[in-house]
């Protein structure tokens, strides 16, 4: 068996559909300019349409056009919103595939780094069990909410970001960047479950959050251990983690902004070993990119154009 696999080699059963990771990369690099955001999404229209075809996200595409992700990502989950259930399922499905890739990432670390210290292997092995349970938990929660596996396309962007060939980089990206993001998302899900009185979801996600804090702590400790005595290496891991954090801030949707869809779980992150300085840095870098106002205006234009195109097509079909 070879060491280090490409994200396209993640094995899936016939329920899953892949999404092109280019969308996620672009989303993380957009400037704060309505026209540019609209043009970028316009260019991606065929790819986005193709990736959602036959999935539950097709209804969102039909309604909002290629910019549906901007609507979905940038508004906090609101139980009273008419599309709240679809948005909740979309997020839950995203978490489910994220956990699946986290399991695969931790497990690959065992094979990819055979000479790593034993305690590192023990931590990664433990994480395999935890992530395996998380996959089971989110599959059950997905069913609990009326969804199913494969109802939305899967982006393998998480695994792509996480698969550095340097163990220090990998734990910096996965255990500090992505598991840190998981802390933010799960704290937000707990708030949502409290608001809707869903005790099953609240308790399950609360347990998952406890595990994630442990995984971030693994990352905090191993980055220090792997880079001990090598400040340049340490700096590279910090830069990589910042890059992952930037990518997964979704243009400020996860940030410290007062109107962020997913606020940073400050206290959970402190418990997991993030320093105040790192958190201030995260707060700063995550608000970069387009403002919420820009994204909502871009989404409005994209929706109008989409509706116009649809009207044009049905006119042609009618003639």
């Amino acid at each position: 068996m070879k060491r280090f696999i490409h994200h396209s080699e993640l094995a899936r059963d016939s329920r899953f559909v892949r999404q092109d990771n280019a969308q996620s990369t672009v989303l993380a690099q957009m400037p704060d300019d309505v026209e540019t955001v609209v043009n970028i999404f316009d260019q991606f229209t065929p790819m986005i349409e193709e990736s959602v075809r036959g999935t539950a996200a097709q209804a969102l595409f039909d309604e909002y056009g290629p910019g549906f992700a901007l609507m979905v990502l940038n508004e906090p989950l609101d139980p009273d919103s008419p599309i709240s259930k679809t948005r909740l399922l979309l997020r839950m499905h995203g978490i489910f595939v994220g956990e699946l890739q986290a399991l695969e990432g931790a497990a690959r670390s065992l094979w990819d780094f055979p000479d790593a210290p034993w305690e590192f292997k023990m931590n990664m092995a433990r994480q395999c069990w935890d992530e395996g349970r998380h996959v089971q938990i989110f599959e059950k929660l997905l069913t609990h909410l009326g969804g199913e596996v494969g109802m939305f396309p899967e982006s393998t962007f998480l695994f792509e970001c996480a698969c550095s060939e340097d163990p220090a980089m990998r734990v910096a990206g996965v255990n500090r960047g992505l598991e840190g993001l998981a802390c933010d998302v799960f704290r937000d899900m707990i708030r949502y479950a409290e608001k809707t009185g869903d005790e099953t979801m609240r308790q399950a996600v609360d347990y998952v959050l406890a595990d994630e804090i442990t995984h971030v702590r693994f990352g905090s400790e191993w980055v220090k251990a792997f880079t001990e005595g090598d400040p340049d290496h340490f700096k590279r891991t910090q830069d990589f983690r910042r890059e992952v954090d930037k990518q997964f801030s979704f243009g400020g949707a996860r940030s410290d902004r007062p109107d962020a869809a997913i606020p940073i779980a400050w206290e959970d992150r402190v418990e997991a070993g993030f320093s105040e300085e790192e958190l201030r840095d995260l707060a700063e870098l995550s608000v970069g990119g387009p403002s919420k106002k820009t994204l909502i205006e871009a989404a409005r234009i994209l929706r109008e154009r989409h509706q116009a195109r649809k009207a044009e097509q049905s006119k042609e079909t009618g003639q």
């Binding site: 696999i5 092995a125 996959v135």
Partner: protein
């Protein structure tokens, strides 16, 4: 005269407590002396640890390349328990005069067993779940259970009890792994063609295992029947 609570210096200063030996009730039928001395037990622990450590790493490598979701998640727990097995075996080594740093000492019994482990890890593609799982759950894990149980029976029951305790826990969990793996394989092998694939893989891996002498390299002399 009041009853003496503690013995004194002379024969008439004994206590009146009736003798009670640990060998009386319950009857301790264990006998001293086993097949393995300290050095041989240490060598076996290193060999066992090698197998458990590599199994854990191989299963870790496969999680991403196996398409069946319940298999991925089931392996997550097995990976952790296999790592714990390796860890416990490693922790026994310093107690067997291998030095305090010996806890991470895994050692293949011979080069052929190391080659066998690499051969076990060969299947890579997503359509080879049967080959992947059959090698581990139909052959290697049952072989380890057989060897661990033989070791538990043959080693000194009193002097080497800590090894027995460790192996006892590992065997209990490994039996659960085997039962899980066989249930999964029975489900995956639901046609004659897939059952044949499983059988071929078992035969191949069994032959390689016999060739290298198993986990301790002494299969011939230890011989019980392979699965």
């Amino acid at each position: 005269m009041s009853q003496r609570m503690y013995p004194g210096m002379s024969p008439d200063e004994k206590t009146t407590f009736a003798p009670y030996s640990a060998f009386d009730i319950p009857a301790d039928l264990r006998e001293l002396h086993g097949r393995y001395d300290v050095e041989a037990t240490a060598r076996r622990c290193r060999n066992f640890r090698y197998a458990e450590e590599w199994m854990m790493m191989i299963l870790g490598g496969w999680v991403a390349t196996i398409p069946e979701v319940p298999v991925k998640t089931g392996l997550g727990k097995i990976i952790w328990e296999t790592a714990q097995a390796a860890d416990e075996l490693g922790r026994r080594l310093p107690e067997l005069r291998c030095g305090r740093k010996a806890v991470e000492a895994s050692e293949a019994s011979n080069q052929a067993f190391a080659d066998f482990i690499q051969a076990l890890s060969d299947p890579e593609q997503p359509d080879l779940s049967i080959e992947k799982l059959a090698g581990i759950f139909d052959v290697l894990k049952p072989h380890l259970v057989e060897v661990y149980e033989r070791t538990m029976r043959e080693t000194d029951q009193i002097s080497d009890a800590p090894t027995i305790e460790i192996l006892d826990t590992i065997v209990r969990k490994t039996r659960r792994h085997i039962a899980w793996g066989q249930e999964v394989l029975d489900r995956l092998c639901d046609t004659d063609a897939t059952r044949e694939r499983r059988r071929k893989r078992i035969d191949l891996i069994n032959a390689k295992l016999a060739e290298c002498g198993g986990v301790t390299g002494t299969l011939e002399s230890d011989r019980g029947s392979l699965h």
